[in-house]
Symmetry: C2
Subunit: 477 residues, 2 copies
C-alpha cells in the first residue's frame, strides 16, 4: 500500500497513531499496528501505553480486545507489564529505524578549551532561577486571558511600562511605553530597522566592533563605513569631515563603553554626535549593551536622553541576565514607531509573551535590580583580580578602558597579537585578539590587543585561567 498511515489509522490513549487496516480481526490489527510502531521506533522503549479502558473507548472496541493485544505483545517481548506501572514498551526493544533516518545521535561531547576567556557571555551559573520562577508564577497567574492570545507585536504593555520606568531611572533614557518595541535581542533589532527598510545605509560604525553585526548588516544590504576611534571614543567629527562618511544616513555607536576597546564617548562628542544627527536629519543608534555594569561610580547615562527624537536606544537582557532569555528592546523616536511596527508585521511577535510577563515582574518587583547589583559586584571583583594578576606577573601590560562591563582589552606592543594568541592557545585559553573586531575598511592605525572576557569561567577555575593568560603574554622588552 502506498500510504500505510492514511487508511483506517486511529488515535489511541496518550495520542498515538496506529493503523488498524488490513485483514483479520480488530485484535489482530491492533496487535500488528502496535508491534510495527515499536519496531520502527515510533514507540520508544519505556513509553507507557494507555490503559485498556481508555484505549478501548477511544477506538470504540472492547476492553478485552485491547488487553489481549497487549498480552500478545508482552508475550512476544515487545511490551512489558508490571503491576502499578502499567504496560510499557520493553526497554530492550531495538527499533528498526526507517531507511536513511539515522538513529538518535549521541550527545555532542562537551569539548572545550581549558580556560574560556571569550567575551560576550554573562556568567551562566548565576542566572537567578529562583527569582525568575517566582516572578513567572506571579506574572502568569496574574495575567489576563488575552495575554495567551495572539498578542501585540510591539510587546506586552506590562513589560514596556516596566522598561520605560527602569531605563529612565537607571540609564537616563527619556521615553514612554508607546515608544518601546520589544524584540528578541540586538540582532533582531538591526534586522527590523534595516531589513524592514525603516532605516537605510550607508551606516557609520566604529572601526572596532562585532564582526557578527557587520555581517548581519551586510546581509541586509547595508554598507558600513568605519569611523576612527581614539582615547575619547568615536571620532564623530569625521562624520562631517571625511568624504566617505558624508553619505551615511545613520551611525551605530557604543557610547557608554566602546565595544570592544572600552572607553566612554567623551561628553563633547556625545553632544556633537547628536548635533550632527539633528543638523543633517540623521539617526544615531545607541548600542547600550552593558550599560548597567560600570564599577567606578561614574556611570554615564544614555545619549538617548540628549535627544529622544534623534537616537534609537537598543538594549537587551543578554548581558544582564542571560542570552537564553531572548528579550531586547528598542526605544524609538516617535516617527520611527509606526515604520518599525510595520516591518515587524502584525503577526510576527517573536518574543515569548511568557518571558515578557516574567521580566516585567522581575523589574517591577526589584528582583532585577538585586540581580544586577549582585552581578556587578561579581564582575567587578573578576576585573580587579585580572588587574591584580597583570600587576604581579605582567606589569608592562595594561588594560585599556574604564572599569566596566564583562571584558577588558589588554593592549599589546604592535605586531605581537598573533604570537600572543598562539601562546594563549598553547595554554589552553580561548579568547579573541583585537584584529577580529577591526572593520576591514578601517583607516586608523591597527591596535594589537587581547579581548579578555572575565564573566564566564567558574570561580574555581578563574585564577588558573589568569595564571595561564599571564604566561601567554609577551615578555617585557
Amino acid at each position: 500500500m502506498a500510504d500505510s498511515w492514511v487508511n483506517s489509522a486511529e488515535r489511541i490513549g496518550a495520542d498515538l497513531h496506529v493503523e488498524l487496516a488490513g485483514s483479520g480481526s480488530r485484535r489482530a490489527a491492533l496487535t500488528r499496528a502496535l508491534r510495527s510502531a515499536v519496531q520502527d521506533g515510533r514507540l520508544a522503549p519505556g513509553t507507557r501505553l494507555p490503559p485498556y479502558r481508555s484505549l478501548a473507548a477511544d477506538l470504540g472496541i472492547a476492553r478485552n480486545t485491547v488487553s489481549q493485544a497487549y498480552a500478545e505483545l508482552v508475550a512476544e517481548g515487545w511490551l512489558t507489564a508490571r503491576q502499578g506501572s502499567g504496560t510499557r514498551v520493553a526497554p530492550r526493544a531495538e527499533p528498526v529505524r526507517p531507511a536513511r533516518v539515522a538513529v538518535e545521535p549521541p550527545p555532542r561531547a562537551a569539548v572545550g578549551p581549558a580556560h574560556n576567556l571569550m567575551q560576550g557571555q554573562p556568567d551562566a551559573g548565576s542566572f537567578p532561577r529562583g527569582a525568575w520562577l517566582s516572578c513567572a508564577r506571579r506574572a502568569l497567574n496574574a495575567a489576563p486571558n488575552e495575554a495567551f492570545g495572539p498578542g501585540d507585536p510591539q510587546g506586552r504593555i506590562e513589560l514596556r511600562r516596566a522598561l520605560a520606568d527602569y531605563l529612565a531611572r537607571v540609564r537616563g533614557v527619556r521615553t514612554t511605553s508607546d515608544r518601546i518595541v520589544v524584540c528578541s535581542g540586538f540582532a533582531h533589532a538591526l534586522r527590523l530597522l534595516f531589513g524592514g527598510q525603516v532605516l537605510r545605509g550607508p551606516l557609520a560604525v566604529e572601526s572596532y566592533g562585532l564582526a557578527f553585526h557587520r555581517s548581519l548588516l551586510a546581509a541586509e544590504g547595508v554598507r558600513t563605513v568605519p569611523v576612527g576611534l581614539d582615547e575619547q571614543g568615536a571620532r564623530v567629527a569625521e562624520f562631517s569631515q571625511r568624504p566617505e562618511l558624508k553619505g551615511v544616513r545613520a551611525a551605530l555607536l557604543t557610547p557608554g563603553h566602546q565595544f570592544p576597546t572600552g572607553g566612554p564617548l567623551h561628553p563633547e562628542r556625545r553632544a556633537a554626535a547628536v548635533d550632527w544627527a539633528r543638523a543633517r536629519g540623521r539617526v544615531l543608534l545607541e548600542d547600550d549593551y552593558d550599560g548597567e555594569f560600570r564599577y567606578d561610580r561614574e556611570p554615564v547615562g544614555a545619549v538617548q536622553g540628549l535627544d529622544p527624537e534623534r537616537v534609537v536606544y537598543l538594549g537587551s537582557v543578554s548581558k544582564s541576565l542571560s542570552p537564553a532569555v531572548r528579550l531586547g528592546w528598542m526605544v524609538l523616536p516617535e516617527q520611527l514607531v509606526e515604520p518599525v511596527l510595520a516591518a515587524k508585521g502584525m503577526r510576527e511577535a517573536w518574543a515569548s509573551v511568557l518571558d515578557q510577563l516574567t521580566l516585567a515582574d522581575l523589574i517591577e518587583s526589584g528582583a532585577y535590580d538585586r540581580h544586577v547589583r549582585r552581578m556587578r559586584q561579581r564582575y567587578r571583583s573578576r576585573r580587579d583580580q585580572l588587574l591584580a594578576a597583570l600587576d604581579e606577573h605582567a606589569p608592562h601590560i595594561t588594560a585599556a578602558g574604564i572599569a566596566a562591563g564583562l571584558h577588558a582589552v589588554l593592549r599589546l606592543p604592535v605586531g605581537t597579537e598573533g604570537a600572543a594568541l598562539k601562546a594563549a592557545a598553547r595554554q589552553g585559553i580561548a579568547l579573541d585578539g583585537l584584529a577580529g573586531y577591526r572593520h576591514p575598511d578601517a583607516v586608523m592605525p591597527a591596535q594589537d590587543g587581547l579581548v579578555v572576557g572575565y564573566a564566564t569561567p567558574p570561580d574555581h577555575g578563574y585564577q588558573a585561567a589568569l595564571d595561564a593568560l599571564c604566561r601567554a603574554l609577551p615578555p617585557m622588552r
Copy 2:
C-alpha cells in the same frame, strides 16, 4: 551644559542615575539631582528610594548627607517618608515631561466585536498555567548551567528529543532530534527557508490559504503559483500538467486538513505528491498546523512519514497551546539541516531557551498530551454545537470539510458571501469570508463561504454568537 548626564553622574541605591555636578555641597548636589529626577519623571510617583545607609555607601558620602537631602525633598513635597515604608516619591509629584516625549498613554480601550468568530486562535482562557509553571520549575531547576549560556541555534536538545518522540508517536513523523530545528513558529520557518535561500521559488501553494503567508513569501521574493483544490484536496496532478506549475521548485501543502476549506488530502494524492517530489527533485512543505485536532477517529498521519528526505514538516504550539509561546519546529531532510542552520546563523537563537526547556518537560511528563486531549474535547463540542445550530436554524447551509481543527467553513450559494459578511457585521460578528483566502492568481472557480473560528469565544457567549451567526446567514431560496 550640553550634556548634564555625563559629568559626575553617579549611581544610587536600587540603580538610579543622579547628577552630583555643579557648585555647592554634596548635600546640595544630591538634593538638586533627586529633585530634577522627580520633576522630569524619571523617578515615578511611588518609587521607593534606597535606604540612607546603602545610598551613602554607594556614593561614598556620609549617611547624614543623604538623610538631610531626603528630608529637604520631603519638606518640599517631592518625597514622602513613612515609618516602615521608607522614603518614596510623593504620589502627587507631577512630572514635567521633556519636550516632545508624550506622557504615558492611557491603555488602549478594549473595543472589539460582540462575537469574535475569527479563525486562527486557540482558546486563550484554556492555557494550562498551572502545568506550565510546574514544568518550568522542574525544567529550570534541572537545567545545567550551560542552558543559560549562548545556546544552540538548532534548539535545546531536550526539546528536540521530546519532539522527535512526540511527533513519531502522534503524527507518524519519522525523524531524530538532529533533523529538528526549533524556531519561533511557522512564519519564522518560512523566513529561514526562503529568506535564507535554503529553498527557492517559485513555490506551488493551494489556491486557498493564508494571505499572511503569501505576503510573507512575496516579501522574500518568492513567487507563489496556486494549485487547484477539489473535494480530494490539492490537485497535485497539476504539478506536472499545468505549464505555470512546471517550474515550481517546492510545494506548500496542508495535507492533514486543508486550510481553510477543511478537507484532507486524498491518500492517492499524498502518494502522488511525494512521487512528484522524488521524480523531479522537489521538496514538499507540510504545514501541519492543527494535526492534533481531529475528532472523527480517522486521524491522518503526516505525509512526512512517506519520505522524510523529500518533506519538510512544519509545526508549532500556536494552535495547541498558545501563540504567546513563540515555539515551532521544522523536521528536515538530512541535506537541508546544515543550510537551515547556516541561514539561522550561529548567534540567532530567537526562541526562548526557558520556554524550550519547559515545553520539553511538558511533553515528556505527559502534561502536553493531557492538555491536547482536553482541548480536543472542548473544540469538538464547540463544533458539534455549531452544527446543531445550523441544523436547527439554517439547515440549507452545510459545513465543509472533516471534523477537525479550530474552524469550519460554511458553504454559501455563489455570490452571497459579501452580503453574508455585511449581515454578520450588523450582528456584531467578526469573521472572514473565503474570498480573503483566495490566491489572486487562482484559476479554479471561486467558492463562497464563511470561515468560522469556534475556539475563541468564551463559553457563556458562544451560543449567542451562534444565534447571531444563524441570523446573518442567507435564507433558503
